[in-house]
Symmetry: C2
Subunit: 248 residues, 2 copies
DNA sequence: ACGTATTTGTTCGTATGTATC
DNA sequence: GGATACATACGAACAAATACG
């Protein structure tokens, strides 16, 4: 709204008008243009500005409320939810356990599935092993707080880390499980960031609607000597989290 | 498919089966599990594995093709597009012009819209100006190659950069336009990364379907002395691009 | 040059559920 | 409640391009 107004709306388009308003307001709120705690314009004012019926505005606002972005108070107005997004900082110490620390949460990883597959070319390059070498693949759900969670796929060289899945199941933490394999310190080397629609089972586990996009981090962690430890995909819901990169 | 198979499908769910297959294959391709140039299983084989009709598979594949992820050749098969994703590297020299250099493209920014608005609290903090101070807001589309593009919102302090929009229109580049204001060197300080569904006009300009999510970078660029120059949102389609962060 | 198998591309038809008026 | 339109999913058949012996 600060940028423009009803010109944004496409009537007779393939997208319903209420959804356009929803994404529009989502942009404003998530980007911080409207600060947490601030009051939104009234439904009546929205309907005037966008040139739509008040009911159409209400559909959009109801969805924002359902996603936890706003809270409606009868007789007062609609307010942006109090807390801003949690920042997942990308630096060489980037780990999920670092996020858990912010919430004083104990390691609470849950092992969803374990499988094996041969290393594809890309993963083999990252782990500096032979293409086709057997990999141990884990799917884990790690939750620090409501809405603060990741669904991760970890790829380990099977020959080196056989049984790591049971160690994780016992300790609920990769950091601690890896310690049993002599890996006491590891750091993040490179991270690739992508986004997509979640798979049904990911959305289920993360407890988010299947239509809301998620961030995907792909990264390699290595030990002090630069030797690769594992390759990972982490699916991150963005309703209450953002990634942050500082380039000092 | 390497991780699991038809168990992934949710029948009678709110999400169509073809979309589930689409996201599934998108994951495999974009994450590099299936390498560029590789041949996908045949439509018949997919329909067997997923337990669906061949038409259903074709809908998914058609969408992947439209997004440029795969290329179908009659009589041969469907192949993952030859080139891997372009990496937009996040470091202190992160600029769109750096991406353009990779394609030997001349600056080709197009000014979509210009507006003004008062600085919200968050923007005021980033630019270290007073809340409510007038801002110059530009919307630009910058294309380096097919699918390699950004739709950006730039927020400038109006008092300092009045007329910058016309300078950009003339020079097609912020780097060059800012030089006329005595800003010869600027670097990236912090970046926040989020993702969402694009606005209709963003999807139009970037030539992507309205349902495919986009990455959003929010960042502050500053001059050599650490003085903020501008705040920006950049919308990045991810069919052919990923962000990359190196944490050395 | 020919026949065959494989694979994508296209066109019918049928059924079902959902949204809309 | 009824009528309509649309999206989803399945089935069968055929056309066209490719590969191979």
């Amino acid at each position: 709204m600060s940028l423009d107004d009803a010109r944004l709306l496409q009537r007779n388009a393939q997208i319903p008008v209420w959804r356009q308003i929803e994404t529009d307001l989502t942009v404003e709120i998530r980007s911080g243009l409207i600060a947490p705690g601030e009051k939104l314009p009234s439904e009546h004012e929205f309907s005037q500005r966008y040139g739509v019926n008040r009911h159409t505005v209400r559909v959009a606002l109801a969805r924002l409320a359902r996603n936890g972005l706003v809270v409606a108070v009868q007789g007062k107005g609609v307010f942006v939810s109090g807390t801003g997004p949690v920042e997942y900082r990308l630096n060489k110490d980037a780990k999920w356990s670092e996020v858990e620390k912010q919430f004083a949460a104990s390691p609470g990883g849950r092992l969803i599935a374990v499988s094996e597959c041969p290393a594809t070319r890309r993963i083999a390059e990252h782990l500096r092993i032979d293409e086709g070498a057997p990999l141990l693949v884990t799917e884990t759900l790690r939750v620090a707080s409501a809405g603060i969670a990741t669904y991760s796929y970890h790829f380990f060289e099977k020959a080196r880390f056989a049984g790591l899945d049971t160690a994780f199941e016992r300790l609920s933490s990769f950091t601690e499980a890896l310690a049993e394999y002599g890996v006491t310190d590891f750091t993040r080397a490179s991270t690739w960031i992508d986004c997509r629609i979640p798979r049904p089972r990911e959305a289920d586990a993360l407890d988010i609607p299947v239509e809301t996009p998620v961030l995907v981090m792909m990264y390699v962690d290595q030990d002090r000597d630069g030797r690769p430890i594992f390759f990972s995909h982490s699916v991150i819901p963005t309703t209450r989290m953002v990634l942050r990169v500082d380039t000092a």
